[in-house]
């Protein structure tokens, strides 16, 4: 097998694996029971799926201009996906959107009052008393 053939095969495997992981993320989004669990699906298999896809593309395309863009996509994906997941998850938890019957333990609940009002921070955009 030629070098190009090997590279093509590697790229194909990476892209198909990436696609399957993204599919799994989609299935997980539909099947997982509550919002926090679903954020796991959105944050993880999809990130690796994208990374594999990008690597596969980089091997196939192999021009510097495109690869630099793909590096940026990867970096920003890794940097931003957890932040987005955290913001959504946090809002969901405070809003009581968690299926507590599925939680083995919840070590946040006893401390939640710490987060409703933080005097050392900038004035909070949230009301000091959490809505019932």
């Amino acid at each position: 097998m030629t070098l190009q053939g090997v590279l093509d095969a590697v790229a194909a495997v990476l892209m198909v694996t990436g696609a399957l992981l993204s599919l799994a993320a989609g299935v997980a989004l539909l099947r997982f029971p509550d919002l926090l669990s679903r954020m796991h699906a959105a944050a993880k298999p999809q990130v690796l799926g994208l990374l594999l896809m990008l690597t596969g593309c980089a091997i196939r395309i192999a021009t510097v201009v495109d690869i630099t863009t793909m590096v940026l996509i990867a970096v920003f994906q890794l940097a931003t996906a957890p932040v987005a997941a955290h913001m959504v998850g946090r809002a969901a938890y405070r809003d009581g959107q968690t299926r507590t019957d599925l939680l083995l333990t919840d070590e946040l609940a006893p401390h939640l009052d710490r987060f409703s009002d933080k005097p050392d921070d900038k004035p909070s955009r949230f009301p000091a008393t959490p809505p019932e």
Partner: protein
């Protein structure tokens, strides 16, 4: 004053943190254009400085130093964990039944903002964990763990987070921080309300 809490930055530190921001932005600019040329670097630097004047970044205290071997180790382990995590969650997606989960409080040993941010980022991307809340006063991360089987599994996941923190500090922490994480983890931790 505890050594972990960052105090006000000195002028030199502030300058250094700005310089790093400029270098980072110039790098991004070059990558966006797809070529490292003098023209890109100079225009990138002008834009970076302008950006930082208009939108100043919050100061980041970086008291550590880079240890290249530990950095490579950290990333190697990180990508390994990322791969395992992805397939675990993918597997859970196709399994019957609803996955159990748990919210665990993990108190980090190094409580600097930078360390908390980086640990939170890495934790969010590795096996079954998501940051539900972060308390920067006590340096505690509240982590939602997916697919937790039982209490023993939970403790193992908790220990994994602390190991991740240790790897990170080994990679970029200061010597004082390194001593904090190299200290043995107390096995009989204080009782938490279940």
């Amino acid at each position: 004053m505890s050594p972990q809490r960052p105090s006000a930055l000195t002028k030199r530190e502030r300058l250094r943190s700005r310089a790093i921001a400029v270098i980072g932005l110039v790098l991004v600019w070059n990558l966006l254009w797809g070529a490292f040329t003098w023209l890109n670097t100079i225009t990138g630097a002008v834009i970076a400085v302008a950006l930082l004047v208009v939108f100043p970044l919050p100061p980041v205290k970086f008291g550590g130093r880079l240890r290249p071997v530990a950095v490579v180790k950290f990333f190697a382990r990180f990508f390994f964990d990322l791969t395992v995590a992805s397939f675990q969650v993918a597997f859970l997606a196709f399994r019957r039944g609803e996955p159990r989960s748990a919210i665990v409080a993990v108190e980090l040993r190094v409580k600097s903002d930078l360390n908390m941010t980086l640990v939170a980022e890495a934790v969010s991307l590795v096996p079954g964990s998501l940051i539900a809340e972060a308390d920067h006063q006590t340096g505690t991360l509240y982590i939602h763990m997916l697919g937790v089987r039982d209490a023993a599994h939970l403790e193992r996941l908790r220990a994994e987070v602390l190991q991740l923190e240790a790897r990170l500090v080994r990679a970029i922490g200061s010597d004082a921080e390194l001593r904090l994480v190299e200290a043995p983890v107390p096995t009989d931790r204080e009782e938490r309300p279940a």
